[in-house]
């Protein structure tokens, strides 16, 4: 069983974690076109190579990010989500809608 290094709890058996899917940057739902939104919701890159993924340590419900090589299954690094998300996200409706 692989070991995953949780930024909060340290190295743990990967059975303690839940996979949370690829990291996507969400387009502005009020301004992007339908195609872009549909790709965001339904399409997955499934790239061969180094990808960024969400993982959650289930005992602490702690979400973080991992860089993993999908060819070798090597986990290159793990880091808090705040490295990527550190600004309050706002949504604004388009005027007139």
């Amino acid at each position: 069983m692989k070991i995953l290094n949780c930024p909060l709890n340290g190295p743990r058996n990967i059975s303690e974690f839940i996979y949370g899917g690829e990291l996507h940057e969400m387009p502005d739902p009020n301004r992007c076109d339908s195609r872009e939104w549909v790709e965001h919701v339904y399409f997955h890159e499934n790239a061969a190579g180094i990808v960024r993924e969400w993982w959650c340590h289930s005992a602490t419900s702690y979400w973080f990010l991992a860089e993993r090589n999908t060819i070798t299954d090597e986990i290159i690094r793990t880091f808090p989500a705040s490295e990527v998300f550190n600004q309050r996200v706002e949504f604004t409706a388009v005027e007139g809608e």
Partner: protein, 976 residues
């Protein structure tokens, strides 16, 4: 009276205790062995060489490796099929029987099957029974019985198996000279070491092999190493333990007895040795034909004389070492067929020669002859080799009852290949080699192509130093060391003879004993177009038997390469996967954990006669009463809620507290409704969709403070809802705290026209009047003296209050309400009654009435979706979907015909022969006196009064679409 132990040598037998006689039976006859004997060694000591019949042709088979590496020794124990007789030790009273024969082992009525072998080529069964359609289904059981391996005892008693984690700096698998050396050296440097070996004693090959002409070195070296290991506190030894697989990051399952150890190693060194391979020639499967290591094991480990008169066929020094062992054991060695032309004269060869044994250079064993009863070797024919695999037209026949084969090895590659190691073939040494090892994982010893004991130990010191120095970087207790100087291999040559394969016009030169595969079977597989070794395996079944290619992989790869004109390296071997050795289901199934969750009122439900059912890990009362009264109980519970007052445990409902300045904004984003302006003291329905706009959960949001919302979630959904919430806020960075408080609160729903009357007896600080505390109001106060959150809800369609109290007070609350309601006829009700009640009221259950495609509009929940927010999860897709025509809707229906069978969940809504929808819920409604349900129907069938047809167990049943809810459409009851 049979003579017992007549093949036992006067001395020797490291594993047996001659002071303890053990009585057991084999094939219905009584035998005596010594404590420590395996079944096979004890049988050999008594002259019983025939152990089993082969899988396909029912040929007689005996011990080949004496190390559990072939299927020849599979036997049946009373409660265990497929036991390896050369590994299983005997115990008093053990009843052993042979496997895979018709009638008796000695006179198998299927023994002549081999005569028809030319009619049973590879792929025979598939080809012959493939047509007509269905033929295979008919014949498979017959064939499988004839070819069956043992019998499962279905009267077995469960036994206790369990698992344990353990952690080491270094795990060394294999306790031969390499493994012992590596363990000692790493332990010297402070590492915590686990040394694992499948044998009952330390030493590996040192316990049976011969290093020198005098035959004293091996045991002296073994004893010295054992003394070192035993004196080391840092080394844990597990014997009779199998490392049965390799999993990522050095996660090693080690099975010992009835326990599976899940071992995590910072470093691992595989000192797993190598597996001796057989020569391939006519009748090479006769009992009496053995690997040189098997002969040495019988002599040294068990003190058993494996024959009276022996011939050796060899391509290396081990043949001579074994010849000396046989001579010392009083066996007459009549000839050595030396495969090599001009083999270098080693010390061991000279010693054999000096003892008067005839050595025939560049000679091979061309064929073996069976005794008159066909059950044992009686002679071998030795011929001169004229080219690769080709012998002279005639040769010399030597009478013998024992043939020693010493023609080469494969590394024990299974665990290493599982770890990602790659097997390649070195044409110079005619040997497989291993490379491309994962990090923190090494191999050492003969598995790494070292043969002399000096080279083996030197290689182990090299590997140990690398492991130690890596450990020293992070593990304080381990001190780094200088890397030892490399040790050259002082063994003269490769022990592998490049082509010990001799086709015979009559065939029966077995490559894989498990599956009775001969040279022509492998060659024919390549001719049938299966040129890749992976395909050859699947087509011919070579390597698919119990020994998993341990004795056949090398010969198969060589034959495939030769037949296809490729190199052995290109041909390769088949993929090795865990487990390494057969494992018991007990090891996998034993001591698994299936958590159970109980509410604080759990024991009250049991005392009240509840039938409990499991929802996820939770145990919930289904209904109260005996199982044979199920329907009556549920109907009575429903009626009591409608007419009096009922009490249901809702503690399993999820509870999430969302607190902080952004709490309202956060709920606005994760639920479809608007919450920012939700007034204090009010509850609001909360519907959750995912990004695809699909309904995934629902609950009620209660605002107790400007910055505090208490949100309920479904029993099964709350953990996922909570995790989703945290994941969203990891991205949004809102100033909000989210806490899953499900277990901290217990709750009941007290429902029915008399609910207020009962509750008011126990609640002084909340005004329960309809004006002061209307439907969908929430209050904080005290019930039965306990701090409580009270929510006025209507899930079951009556006046009702959910009372939530801290977990520890659940049972006290239950008791107080039951006592207060006694005069009013209060009765508990279970989730079955609750399902009926909510269905009558037209309330959906997420996951039952919704599926992975259900949008809010489809389930008539458009009213719960706010259009005034800039965002909620799922909004964009819902907005797009709402522009499209809806292709189905969830509607209510009734079945008016009292004689019609009642529809059930998942029954189809049909239109002629077309499926147009399906039923999601249906129950008999005690209130309406007929079955009511909900179903997805296509457009055009959604209006009340529409007729639909439901297919109930094949029969069409007429149903009528009606407006929801079925019960109390004016909501007068819940607004009481």
């Amino acid at each position: 009276m049979p003579v017992y132990n007549d093949n036992r040598l006067a001395n020797g037998g490291l594993l047996v205790d001659r002071s303890k006689t053990v009585n057991f039976s084999f094939d219905g006859r009584e035998f005596k062995g010594f404590a420590g004997d395996t079944i096979a060694s004890a049988l050999a000591a008594n002259g019983q060489w025939l152990i089993s019949r082969s899988f396909k042709y029912h040929r007689p088979r005996g011990a080949l490796t004496m190390a559990g590496q072939d299927a020849n020794t599979l036997v049946q124990l009373p409660s265990d099929p497929n036991v390896l007789a050369d590994r299983e030790t005997i115990r008093d009273g053990l009843n052993v029987s042979g496997q895979n024969f018709s009638g008796s082992l000695e006179k198998d009525s299927s023994r002549h099957l081999g005569m028809f072998s030319k009619f049973m080529p590879v792929g025979f069964y598939y080809k012959a029974f493939y047509k007509p359609a269905g033929a295979w289904e008919k014949w498979a059981p017959v064939i499988r019985k004839a070819a069956g391996l043992g019998v499962v005892d279905d009267t077995f008693e469960p036994e206790y198996y369990d698992k344990q984690y353990s952690f080491y700096d270094l795990v060394v698998v294999g306790a031969g000279p390499a493994g012992m050396t590596a363990a000692i050296q790493a332990a010297e440097q402070g590492a915590k070491v686990l040394l694992v070996d499948e044998n009952p004693i330390l030493g590996g090959s040192l316990a049976y092999s011969r290093l020198d002409a005098e035959g004293t070195q091996a045991e002296a070296l073994r004893q010295a190493m054992i003394a070192d290991i035993e004196s080391h506190a840092n080394i844990d030894v597990k014997l009779e333990a199998i490392c049965n697989g390799y999993f990522g990051d050095n996660w090693l399952p080690v099975i010992q007895g009835k326990r599976l150890y899940k071992v995590r190693a910072k470093e691992a060194i595989m000192c797993v040795g190598s597996l001796e391979q057989q020569a391939v020639f006519h009748n090479n499967d006769l009992p009496g034909v053995m690997m040189s290591s098997a002969i040495q094991r019988l002599i040294k480990l068990y003190g058993v004389k494996p024959g009276q008169k022996a011939v050796v066929v060899t391509g290396n020094d081990e043949g001579y070492a074994t010849a000396l062992d046989m001579l010392d054991a009083g066996i007459e060695v009549v000839a050595v067929a030396e495969l090599r032309d001009a083999a270098p004269e080693s010390e061991l060869m000279q010693a054999v020669s000096q003892r008067g044994v005839r050595i025939l250079s560049n000679h091979a064993v061309y064929a073996a002859n069976a005794s008159s009863d066909k059950k044992h070797l009686s002679a071998v024919e030795i011929r001169q080799q004229i080219s690769k695999g080709q012998c002279a037209d005639s040769g010399e026949t030597f009478a013998c009852d024992l043939l020693c084969m010493a023609v080469g090895y494969t590394p024990t590659y299974q665990l290493i290949c599982q770890a990602g190691g790659q097997l390649s073939y070195n044409d110079d040494t005619a040997m497989f080699t291993l490379s491309k090892l994962p990090k923190a994982f090494q191999i050492a010893g003969s598995v790494n192509a070292n043969w002399s004991v000096n080279a083996v130990c030197g290689d182990a010191r090299r590997a140990a130093a690398i492991a130690v120095n890596r450990l020293a970087e992070t593990v304080e207790r381990v001190s780094a060391m200088a890397e030892p100087a490399p040790v050259a291999d002082d063994s003269a040559n490769s022990p592998n003879y490049s082509w010990p394969i001799f086709p015979h016009p009559k065939g029966k030169e077995f490559v894989d004993f498990d599956e009775d595969l001969q040279i022509k079977d492998i060659v024919n597989a390549t001719r049938d177009g299966y040129e890749h070794v992976q395909l050859v395996k699947r087509y011919s079944t070579c390597g698919m038997g119990p020994s998993q290619g341990r004795h056949s992989a090398l010969a198969t790869a060589r034959i495939v390469a030769n037949a296809t004109g490729k190199s052995v390296a290109q041909t390769g071997v088949t993929t090795a996967r865990p487990p390494f050795a057969p494992e018991r289901l007990g090891h996998l199934a034993g001591r698994s954990f299936y958590p159970a969750r109980y509410t604080n009122m759990h024991h009250r439900h049991l005392e009240a006669g509840a039938q409990m059912l499991q929802a996820g890990a939770w145990f919930r009362p289904a209904y109260y009463g005996p199982t044979n009264q199920r329907d009556n109980c549920i109907a009575a519970e429903v009626n009591n809620v409608r007419n009096n007052v009922g009490l249901v445990d809702v503690s399993t409902l999820g509870g999430i507290e969302v607190r902080g300045p952004d709490a309202g904004e956060f709920l606005n984003r994760v639920y479809t409704f608007g919450f920012a302006k939700q007034p204090l003291g009010r509850a609001r329905y909360a519907l959750m969709t995912n990004e695809a706009g699909v309904v995934i959960d629902d609950g009620v949001s209660c605002r107790f403070h400007d910055q505090l919302f208490y949100v309920t979630a479904t029993t099964g959904g709350v953990d996922r809802v909570y995790q989703n919430m945290l994941k969203w806020n990891a991205q949004w960075c809102l100033d909000v705290d989210i806490a899953n408080v499900t277990s901290a609160w217990c709750g009941v729903n007290i429902a029915g026209p008399k609910a207020r009357e009962v509750l008011s007896k126990l609640c002084e600080d909340i005004d329960l009047s309809s004006e002061a505390f209307p439907y969908m109001g929430v209050r904080e106060g005290h019930v039965a003296g306990v701090q409580a959150r009270v929510i006025r809800v209507g899930f079951v369609g009556e006046l009702g209050y959910e009372v939530h109290v801290p977990q520890h007070a659940g049972e006290a609350l239950w008791d107080a309400l039951m006592a207060a309601g006694e005069a009013h006829g209060i009765k508990p009700f279970g989730i079955e009654a609750q399902r009926v009640l909510r269905l009558e009221k037209g309330h959906i259950i997420i996951g039952q009435d919704t599926d992975a495609m259900s949008t809010p509009e489809e389930v008539q929940m458009g009213w719960a979706v706010s259009n005034k927010k800039p965002f909620f999860v799922g909004q964009r897709i819902i907005r797009e979907l709402n522009k499209e025509p809806q292709y189905r809707s969830l509607v209510g229906f009734v079945v008016d015909d009292p004689k019609a069978p009642q529809p059930e969940e998942s029954h189809l809504v049909i239109d002629g022969d077309k499926m147009t929808g399906r039923v999601t819920s249906c129950n008999y409604s005690p209130t309406l006196g007929k079955p009511v349900g909900m179903a997805y129907v296509p457009p055009g069938k959604t209006e009340p009064g529409s007729d639909i047809v439901i297919k109930v167990d094949g029969a069409p049943v007429a149903a009528k679409v009606v407006a929801l809810p079925f019960y109390d459409p004016d909501t007068a009851r819940q607004n009481l």
